[in-house]
Amino acid sequence: MAAEPHPGVAEPNHARRFTAIWLIASVIATPLVVFLLGPELPPGHGSEQASGHVTDNTVLLAMATPVLLLVLVYLIYAVINFRQPPGGMLEGPAIRGDARIQTTWIVITSALVLSLAAYGTVRLLADNGAGSGSGPTPLTVPKGHKLQVQVIAQQWAFTYRYPEYGGVETTHLELPVNQMVEMHVTSLDVIHSFWAYQLGVKADANPGVDNVLFVKPTKEETFEVHCSELCGIWHGYMFDHGHVVSPQAFETWIHQQETTMAPAKKVLPPYAHTYSPEPTRRAG
């Protein structure tokens, strides 16, 4: 960069020194982040989608680390080195810009940003929505058999229907392990959001909307279900646990549900993607 305008004083080459510090810091920190922090990142490995998110988060973090360090190291470097001496009235050099640096910055940030967007798009489509609610007709659909499960949100509980098992409605969620599941999320009143944390799944439940997502659980475990969209005063209590179990255990459970829930099923409306209840409003 610029030659110092004070002839007598020998200044170190700040540009070179700063670049070296930043490079060393990045070379040390980025692998640490990827290999130490990466595996610990949420939401864990409860499903193929969740594992995908761990990878995504690791990639994003690996890209963000050098950028973070660039600005941070720079700020610290500048604060330490470029100071006004106490009581001093010195002026700095009147540098008003640098075309080369500006162009380089624009090119590099653009390249970073575009590759992030491309990566995100590929991951989103390749993973069939990556566990997120993808609307009534998702762009990509996994091949093979998918277990159909409907998630019905209402103030203030989730219930679940299994159309392949006669449309039985249960009060909590069990899923067989290693089976692709197609979830249809809808609501009977206000907006809710179905969030199964360990499965890396989230989809808003809007009244009159069928919001579809795909998830393949890979680990037999208990997972948390939260509502993650404000839905009224008991929103915070709209939380429950679900289970991923072996296929045999699932079959036993679901048949048991079919018997115990048989009386309730008689008054249920037939299975549909959306239900149109009476609007709950303060009509006078």
Binding site: Q84, E91, P93, D98, V113, S193, A203, N206, S228, G236
Partner: protein, 634 residues
Amino acid sequence: MSTTAAAASTPRPVGRPRWRRLLGFNLLSAVILGIAGYYLGWFIGHRISTTKSFEFFSATDENDIALLLAYIFGVVGFLIGLGFANYPVSRMLGRPASLREKEQHGIGRYFGLCTDHKVVGIQYLVGIGLFFFIGGLNAMLIRTELLKSSPTFVGPNQYLSLVGMHGTMMMGMMTSGILGPFANYFVPIMIGARRMAFPRIEALTFWLLMAAGFILTSTIFFGGFPTGWTGYEPLNDQAVMGMDSYIVFFALVGISMCLLGLNMMATIITMRAPGLTWSRLPIFVWSVFATSVLMVLAAPMLVATLAMAALDRSIDTSFFVTGGGGSSYLFENLFWFFGHPEVYILAVPGFGIVLELIPVFTRKPLWGYRLAVSGMLGVTLLSFFVWQHHLFVSGINADLRPFYMLSTEIISIPTGFIFLCVMGTLWKARTSFSTPMLFCLGWAFNFLIGGLSGVFLSDTPSDTDTHGSFFVMAHFHYTIMGGLIFTFFAAIYYWVPKMTGLRFNERLSKIHFWSMFLAFNSTFMPLFVLGMEGMPRRVSFYEPKLHTLNVWVSISAFVLGLSMLVFLANTVYSLIFVRIKAESNPWRSKSLEWQVPTPVPVNNFEQIPIFDSDPYDYGTPVAIGGGQPAAVGA
């Protein structure tokens, strides 16, 4: 404040006895007419429709029509009482306009309709400051509740109302946090004008905002509202009457915002002094201009949306009610079409402050002036193309998500320009670390964290985990509290000596900065972890495993609250008790506002100045061959 103190000592022309001054158009009549209007509206509302009852709680005397009319009539009465109708009415009657609002002296003008942009600026600073503290108090109550993993201190309904009031108050009031006080005060001076383009509108924006703040606070008498600051339908439609306070508040804020933006745009476009070309405009004025564009284009959307919500609630239209042919998506779409530009309305003035202040404290010209301008204009343009990133998991237009992911990530390119300009200006600088400079550096750190956490939210797969969790909370507090509020304080420490002629206590100012900076990070950094661990927003009931971290956050938040008290103490001590006169240009700034006398004369300039260079004439010229005179630079 010395402006007023000096003015008060000049003999006032003898005239009406003091008690007669109580009659007429002033704050007192405004309050009286406001209350009268309120009850008139309430009465008419009950004539139109009798009590409507609410399904879930069957609260009695729920009548939205009455409350909405009461608020509207109340605001109209309040404005008439202040004297806003005088000018149009006398002109319509063919009489010469009253000059009452042109009153030039006395502390009284701070408590009524005044068209001096410097008075309005100070009114804004104090008024907004007041509501900022109310909002902050709400945050303290929220954090008190979160000390325990299940509700103990307030019920779930009050908890949601607190969250809603805090968020809405902050979002509504702080949108004008920098434009209101500082742009109103300094933009005319910086561009060499004697006043704003529309001085009465300028005063109107302030008083609308005050009426709005009062209305939002009054929600506690009507049962609060359960929707948070986003007001999603159809929960909005279901809620008790306190929801109407939210609707009227935000609509008034929208109107105020839109008018403020129009006024700023008109002033900056038409009233620049000779020689002040666009490429010489101070960067702060550019940021105000960009923000104004956002305000003018985004705010009407908010007002229209809320009008629909109010109609749904009062006369049972069905814009947003699924059963009646409406759609809950429609509200989300409209709200965020306003809501995303809104977050840049909060961020861009902060950019302006930082870029304006850093050259002064580094004794260098702004590095990359044109890059900074294009950064702010780029953000302005792009911010209208990203709103559906708030709806990634909602299922709305799911096929368009790659587009919104792209546009959201692209917006970080112009934001990056701002960082580059800050970094460039710091290069080989002669930085002195006065309090305003410390706040600017605090901004740089906080906004960096805020911006990089945004990368995770803009990535749709990753957003699946973080959406609606405390991660989002941490992200936007880093950008708003860490971004906007830090620059708000930078501006206060930098400009209040000009506005009042008095100096802040340096030691207390430094204590304020350091306690605020450390407590802020210690409060909000752990929220990223809480979000990633799966804690949803807006709940007073969370998993016990997250308890320890929440206690840590709450205690840090209380320290953050204390740091605000340090600021308050500093203000009271320095500006009211000690009253040490500030030097006329304590920061040795070269921009125009520091060259006019303190207190600034009513007409700002004897003679309109003529500009022959930009205001960043710092630094010693660089030796030939060094520094590479830039093609892109100024």
